[in-house]
Symmetry: C2
Subunit: 337 residues, 2 copies
C-alpha cells in the first residue's frame, strides 16, 4: 500500500489538518491561524523578542537520519534557544513549510506534532505560518516570539572584565551525535552514551526555562546560545563586549559520550567540547558577586547542569588556558557554500 502524499490535498485542507492537530488559542492570542495575519496582545511592561531560523534538507538534516517529528521539534527548539539567549519567555510561534510533493501525509502530521508538542510545552502558541510547495528540498522555517522586561534583556555585548563564564549542559554532545550518524553505524549498536549524543543532536532541548529564571533574577545580564560551539560563542561574546575571554581547559565539562567518541576517533575530548556545534546550550557572563544568586536561579531549573569554564579579561582576544599556557581559541571562520 502506497502511503498518501501531501499532493492529494489542497493547501486549505492541509491547513485544516494542521489546525486540527494543535491548540492555537491562548488569552493573549486575539486572532490565531485563519485570518490574513495573527493578532496578539503584547505583555504589559515588557519588550517583544523575535527570532527566526531555517532548517534546509541536506544542509541541516537528512530525512533518512532524522524523523519528521524531530525535524518539527528542532525547527522550534533552535528558535526557543535564541529567545532563551535573550532571557525571553516564549509566547508565540509561526511555522512555514516548503514541501516536496512526494512528502508523505504521515510525515506531515509527525512534523506538525513535533513542532506543536514543543510549542505546547514552552508556551509558544502557534499563531500562523505558511504552506507552499518545494521543487527541491524540504524547508522548515520557524519563528518564535517572546517577551522580557526591558532591564532584564540578556544581550551579548554586556560582558565585563572579571565576569565569570558559565555554560549549561555538556557541549560537544550534539556534534558527537552527528558524527555517530555520519559514521554509518547501525542504530541498535550504539553504546548508551553515544545514543544519548545522537538524541541531543536530533532533539535538542532549548534552555528557555533556565534563561527566563536567570533573566528575571537579574543575576546575569549577558548570554548567548551555543549554536556554533562553545569556543565560538565565548569569542563572539567577548568581541561584541570589546573585551577578551579565557577558557580554562581543565574546567570544560566532557560528557561520557564525548569522552568515548574522542577515544574512538583519536581526538581530544576538550577540542570536541570547544568546537562542536548545534548543542543549543547557553553561555552566561556573571559578575563574581552575583555568583550565588546565579547558581540559585539555575538550581530552580530542574536537571540542568551549569559549569564555570572561564572568565572575561580586559585585553581583546579569546584564549584557551591549559596548565598555565594560553593558546588562541580555534576560529569559527568558514566559507558559506
Amino acid at each position: 500500500l502506497l502511503s498518501a502524499t501531501i499532493a492529494t490535498l489542497s493547501e486549505r485542507a492541509l491547513v485544516q489538518r494542521l489546525r486540527a492537530r494543535m491548540s492555537t488559542s491562548a488569552p493573549h492570542v486575539t486572532l490565531g491561524i485563519g485570518d490574513d495575519a495573527a493578532v496578539i496582545e503584547p505583555e504589559r511592561g515588557a519588550a517583544d523578542v523575535i527570532t527566526t531560523d531555517t532548517l534546509v534538507e541536506h544542509v541541516h538534516f537528512r530525512r533518512d537520519w532524522t524523523s519528521a517529528f524531530d525535524i518539527g521539534h528542532k525547527a522550534l527548539a533552535v528558535n526557543l534557544s535564541d529567545l532563551a539567549a535573550m532571557g525571553a519567555t516564549p509566547r508565540a510561534s509561526l511555522l512555514s513549510l516548503a514541501l516536496p510533493s512526494d512528502f508523505a501525509l504521515e510525515d506531515f502530521d509527525a512534523l506538525i506534532d513535533g513542532f506543536a508538542t514543543l510549542a505546547e510545552q514552552s508556551g509558544a502558541v502557534v499563531i500562523g505560518g505558511n504552506l507552499t510547495r518545494s521543487p527541491g528540498p524540504l524547508v522548515v522555517d520557524g519563528t518564535a516570539i517572546g517577551h522580557v522586561r526591558r532591564r532584564r534583556v540578556l544581550r551579548r555585548d554586556t560582558a565585563r572584565p572579571g565576569d565569570e563564564l558559565y555554560v549549561t549542559g555538556a557541549p560537544g554532545s550534539a556534534a558527537v551525535g552527528l558524527a555517530v550518524l555520519q559514521s554509518g553505524r547501525a542504530r541498535g549498536a550504539f553504546e548508551h552514551a553515544l545514543a544519548d549524543c545522537v538524541m541531543r543532536y536530533e532533539r535538542p532541548e532549548a534552555r528557555w526555562r533556565a534563561a527566563s529564571i536567570v533573566a528575571r533574577s537579574g543575576a546575569s545580564l549577558a548570554a548567548m546560545d551555543l549554536s556554533d560551539g562553545l569556543a565560538d560563542a565565548a569569542a563572539q561574546m567577548a568581541e561584541a563586549s570589546g573585551i577578551g575571554v579565557v577558557i580554562d581547559a581543565a574546567l570544560v565539562p566532557i560528557s561520557t559520550g564525548v569522552t568515548l567518541w574522542a577515544s574512538l576517533s583519536g581526538r581530544s575530548g576538550t577540542d570536541i567540547a570547544l568546537a562542536g556545534g548545534e548543542d543549543y546550550e547557553l553561555v552566561f557572563a556573571v559578575r563574581p558577586r552575583q555568583r550565588r544568586r546565579f547558581l540559585a536561579a539555575m538550581r530552580r531549573s530542574q536537571d540542568l547542569v551549569v559549569t564555570r569554564v572561564g572568565r572575561f579579561v580586559p585585553e581583546p582576544g579569546a584564549w584557551l588556558e591549559n596548565g598555565g599556557v594560553r593558546t588562541p581559541l580555534p576560529s569559527g571562520f568558514s566559507h558559506f557554500a
Copy 2:
C-alpha cells in the same frame, strides 16, 4: 569575467554586507540584527500583528523573468499586504534566505536592496532574519510585524448582510502580467498596458497606507487581501462571516491591460478580473451608512482607486450577478502539488 558568487564569503561576511546596505535602527527597535534575537518595544495601547510568507523559486518566481531586486521587493510586499488586510501599520520585518551556492553576489545585493527599499518606505525596519545555503531553489521567507488598535482590527469574519463590497485597484492585472511573461513575448514588444500588468505582477504595491487610514477611521471593520483573486477573497470573507456575497459583473473594474489581454486570448475580461491572483489589492466590507467616511479615508490614500463591486447578503454562498441572473462564483479549489 565571472561574477563572484555568495560562496566566496562566510555567513558573517554576508550578514555584514547586508547590514551595510540598509538602515536597521528606529526608536522602537531596542536591539536589531546582531544579537541572538531582536528586541522591539510594543506600540502603546496597540496589539501586535504578525505574518509570514515564503517565495520559492520555480513555484512563485523564475530568476530569468524577475530581477533579484523585484524578488526582494515582493518578499516584503506580500507580507505588508497581509498586514494591510488587518489594518495594521508596519513597524518591523525579518528576511530569511536559503541561497543556492551559485547565487551571484550582485544578485544578493540587489535582492537585499529590493527588500530594504520597501522596508524603508513602509516603516517595516529590518530587525533580523537568517542566511543559509540551499541545495535546490532560492527560498525567500519574509516576516512582517505591525500594530493596530484593538478595536480597529480588520478581521475577515465581521462582514454583515447589507455591507457593500469594495476592491482597490484593478484586479486581474497581475495575472495578465504573468500570462504575458509566460507567452514568451519579447519585453520590448509589450504594449504599454501589458507592460503595466507585468509591472504589477513583478512589483506589487501593498496597500498598507490606505488600509491603516481606513482602519483608523473606523469606516470598515472587515478586510482581506486579494492574493488568490477577487472571487476567492469575496467568497472567503462571506464564508468566514457566515453569510453570502453577490458580485455585480457590471461593476467589476477592468484595466486596459486586462481588456487587451482578454481580446488577445479570447477570454472575458470580467473572468480574468475575478479569478486572477497575486494582485495584493484589498477588499473591504463597508456598512452603507459608513460609505462616505470610507470613501473620504480612501481619498487620503493618494492614487488608489477603490470600486464598489457587490454586497453581502444573508444567505450563505457566493454569486456573480449579470443582467439580473445569478451564477455561482468559480471555486478556488486546487490540489497542493
